[in-house]
């Protein structure tokens, strides 16, 4: 998709990189983020119940999806534009063997006195096309 503010339209979409999730990728994310919560490392621990939820095994860090969305946005924006905000919530666990991919859809553009903004709905889907993370992003374009 183009990234020229004046040529953007509501409904335009961007696609991010496909990401293969494995035990190794999760372990690498532990090392890179310093988040060694046993949710991501310990199969025995993950056999237990978390309230009414049983994950059945280790899960990927939700922030890994966050990082992929952010990467998609910074790869898309033109020089001079700034990735200003990202909000996500997680709707489904991601497990080793899954393949996930972020995408974005422009939902609004707004011109202020000193700045121009693009608002996007963002989503990360797994290989079954199920959303695993959803949210919103804001990009500031040069005036």
């Amino acid at each position: 998709m183009n990234n020229d503010f004046d040529r953007l339209s509501d409904g335009d979409t961007i696609d991010g990189p496909s990401f293969a999730v494995s035990r190794e990728s999760i372990r690498l994310f532990c090392d890179a983020s310093l988040d060694y919560n046993p949710l991501h490392l310990d199969d025995d621990y993950m056999k237990s119940d978390f309230g009414r939820t049983n994950f059945g095994g280790i899960i990927m860090h939700g922030m890994n999806s966050f990082g992929l969305i952010s990467r998609m946005i910074t790869d898309w924006i033109p020089p001079g534009a700034v990735h200003r905000r990202l909000e996500t919530r997680w709707v489904k666990p991601v497990r080793p063997g899954d393949t996930i991919r972020p995408a974005g859809t422009i939902k609004a553009r707004q011109t202020m006195q000193k700045s121009r903004w693009v608002l996007l709905d963002v989503v990360v889907r797994n290989q079954k096309d199920e959303p695993v993370a959803v949210g919103e992003a804001m990009v500031e374009f040069p005036s």
Partner: protein
């Protein structure tokens, strides 16, 4: 395994010293640690999320780029959160489930920056029998410039 020097990777260690949901006081500042961001740590983070942008990884290209040198990707706060968090902080409690986060970005962090975190629990509540805590966080560089600010919700282990 690559890790920050001195960083305790066993989140079970001293888990009993951390505050549970009952003990967390909304509004009370959390203890934090300064952290010097290295190019090695940035490169490892980039590898974990597949980042190949030369602005983060190629010193020569970055020097000729818009920032005049290497910078970290905006989402580097994912690393900064734990690197600035002491071992006895409740954010490291095993079983902490991340329910959602929002972050605003001001300026890039750079390799060599000494990062400071100001953080607190902002709210706590019970919803559908789950114990939630809202936390807010602001990362500063050594010049007291805001790098980014964010808020998140975690579900606390019972």
């Amino acid at each position: 395994m690559v890790q920050a020097q001195g960083f305790e990777t066993d989140f079970w260690k001293d888990a009993n010293l951390r505050k549970g949901w009952d003990d967390i006081v909304p509004g009370e500042p959390r203890k934090t640690l300064p952290y010097t961001l290295t190019q090695q740590a940035i490169a490892l983070y980039c590898k974990a999320v597949g980042e190949t942008n030369p602005l983060y990884l190629d010193e020569k290209a970055a020097k000729a780029g818009p920032h005049g040198g290497l910078v970290a990707p905006p989402s580097i706060h994912i690393l900064l959160m734990f690197s600035c968090t002491p071992a006895d902080d409740w954010m490291r409690s095993p079983g902490t489930i991340n329910a959602g986060q929002s972050w605003s970005y001001n300026i890039h962090a750079r390799p060599g920056d000494t990062i400071r975190l100001e953080a607190r629990a902002l709210d706590k509540f019970i919803k559908r029998q789950r114990l939630f805590v809202v936390h807010d966080n602001v990362f500063f560089n050594q010049h007291d410039q805001v790098i980014c600010s964010g808020r998140g919700q975690t579900i606390r282990p019972a």
